[in-house]
Symmetry: C2
Subunit: 348 residues, 2 copies
């Protein structure tokens, strides 16, 4: 910061809302960065304030991922866009078998957005980054005029490293007969956001499951040496994620009665005509393991934070067409296809 | 892709505009990704289609950077948002002394955006990624409703590695007496975008300088072993960038007559009341070197693609307050401060 700020000038401290000046790359941007981003994400790498962060790495491979978050509203029961943006990227790295290390964040903010809300979001990001053991090491802020974006969008990208003994989990490791395990109830996140957005009042309020799962994932990988694959069933839900991991010669057969769905999620879904199988989760993983490791995996997951309701919900089949099927409560088997369109836009 | 798409269903091939379905994580998203992103960014890492890309790395350090691009309009003389999003991140990595390797891209697209425009943008990204030697290895797409974003925003994050013999360029290496070299004319990018946006007609059209500079940067680092620092003067222009790199005990003294400004940029700036010192560049680097290496650095830069108009424009001074000053054509010295607000919003 170069010299005193003229009196009456907009600064983050004496103003309430984001202005175009905060995205100018000039003094107001500088102040915003120092007063909010550097303050809460404080670490040696970020403090260098270079165009790129310079990060130490061990090992010859990294996991690299990116996700943009446009959730509406930005605060919802169980989380906010900041928590979501950290946990989502941490989980995407962790499911590949890597240890999440470094996070970047890119903000696109609508002029007029309250600085107090931005501060809460960044504090939430910093809290969840610390909880999941990652460092926010680089960032960027753009501000667009009123009406050119809706409140705030956050991109986080992440880099993870593989432990010396680690394997990269890839789809091609999945085999016929493998068990499909989910770490808990499905549909919570999507319905929590939707009910907040629409002002629905349910008998019991629905909370997002948004959470960092790298701890549970590391425990599973430590205790089970033949995990086939993992993935977090986010946008598009369990059904879409399972459709993505099947392929020629490998299908999935789910057992509907085994799939954990919270009572309030079940009744709200029925009321709204939504299928929990397609509703986004933000704190769940699917773990696919050979049958011999099912018991051990379930035990580890159930003892882990965020995994107490883990259940085996189906298995990998030799279905030629690579379809995902479900055996319903009535004993009928039906195909669970990918949806063409969006059940719930802006859910993450 | 799971089985045939029902007739009449919206697919990227038979439709013209982006719909909410393209951001659903379902079939339409899948098709959009395959028909456009996978097609143009084709590489083995991206083809894995995992939640994170798994990338090989050598060396124990990486450079990691992120940037969101919100430029308006998305096509402008000399470039487009896609070219900008690749070159911007490539340059941010290269100025730290690292070799740009892997790029992620996160798209936030307004419903109704023409798929043909998206295709052009992605082709442009793929072209410039190949030209600059980087791979786009992971991505994400969100679609928001009409009016919730303005056309398209792109975030790119990037990872670079340091050559075995390489040094990390950091601000703290800058010394009193170092020479400040710019790789060519300033202000071209900002004025090109502005004139396209406003429909200004100048005598000679102004073209953006948007370009990948990693080739020139690598040549300089190869040929000059005591480079102090580098940075690309983007948003906020030369003045803002120089203000960011000064600090207590280190100022900058620029020589106005030495700063290259194209004739058309000079006259357009005067007409519009803008100062080229504060206008964004997207294809220029500032190189700071000890005086003994000035000649050699200039020679290398002038022989490099995009560097033919390189000039020494000033030097690092022992100014106590860390100010950036300029000796004007009239022989007067004045302070060049950071701006508080934005001369030109959405310029990158």
């Amino acid at each position: 910061m170069k010299g005193p700020v003229p009196p009456g000038t907009n600064t983050v401290n004496n103003m309430e809302n984001i202005t175009i000046a905060h995205g100018s790359g000039g003094k107001a941007t500088d102040q915003l960065i120092r007063d909010i981003f550097f303050k809460y994400f404080k670490n040696n790498i970020l403090d260098e304030a270079g165009d790129s962060a310079v990060c130490d790495l061990t090992g010859g491979k990294i996991a690299f991922t990116t996700d943009s978050f446009v959730v509406k509203p930005v605060f919802f029961p169980g989380g906010d866009i900041g928590k979501l943006s950290i946990c989502g990227t941490v989980n995407d790295i962790a499911v590949t078998g890597a240890i999440p290390r470094y996070i970047s964040c890119g903000f696109i903010i609508e002029e007029g957005f309250p600085v107090s809300d931005l501060r809460e979001i960044v504090k939430s990001m910093a809290f969840w980054a610390e909880k999941s053991g990652v460092m926010v090491v680089t960032g960027d802020t753009k501000v667009v005029e009123k009406g050119e974006a809706d409140e705030i969008f956050i991109n986080t990208s992440g880099v993870g490293t593989f432990p010396d003994t680690g394997r990269v989990l890839r789809k091609r490791n999945i085999s016929r007969g493998d068990k499909v395990i989910i770490s808990g109830t499905i549909g919570d996140h999507g319905l929590a956001v939707l009910s907040q957005r629409k002002g629905f009042e349910f008998e019991r309020s629905i909370c997002s499951d948004c959470a960092p799962l790298n701890g549970m994932i590391a425990s599973v990988l430590e205790g089970v040496d033949d995990v086939s694959f993992m993935r977090d069933p986010t946008r598009g839900g369990l059904a879409t994620t399972l459709n993505e991991i099947t392929g020629p010669g490998l299908g999935v057969l789910l057992d509907e009665v085994k799939i954990p769905v919270a009572r309030e999620v079940k009744s709200a879904s029925e009321l709204l005509g939504l299928d929990p199988l397609y509703i986004a989760n933000e704190g769940k993983i699917l773990v696919i393991v050979p049958p011999g490791s099912e018991r051990r995996t379930l035990d580890i997951m159930r003892r882990s934070e965020y995994g107490e309701n883990s259940e085996t919900i189906g298995e990998i089949t030799g279905d030629d067409a690579g379809k995902v099927c479900i055996r319903t409560r009535l004993g009928v088997t039906r195909i669970i296809d990918m949806l063409m369109t969006e059940q719930l836009p802006r859910i993450c």
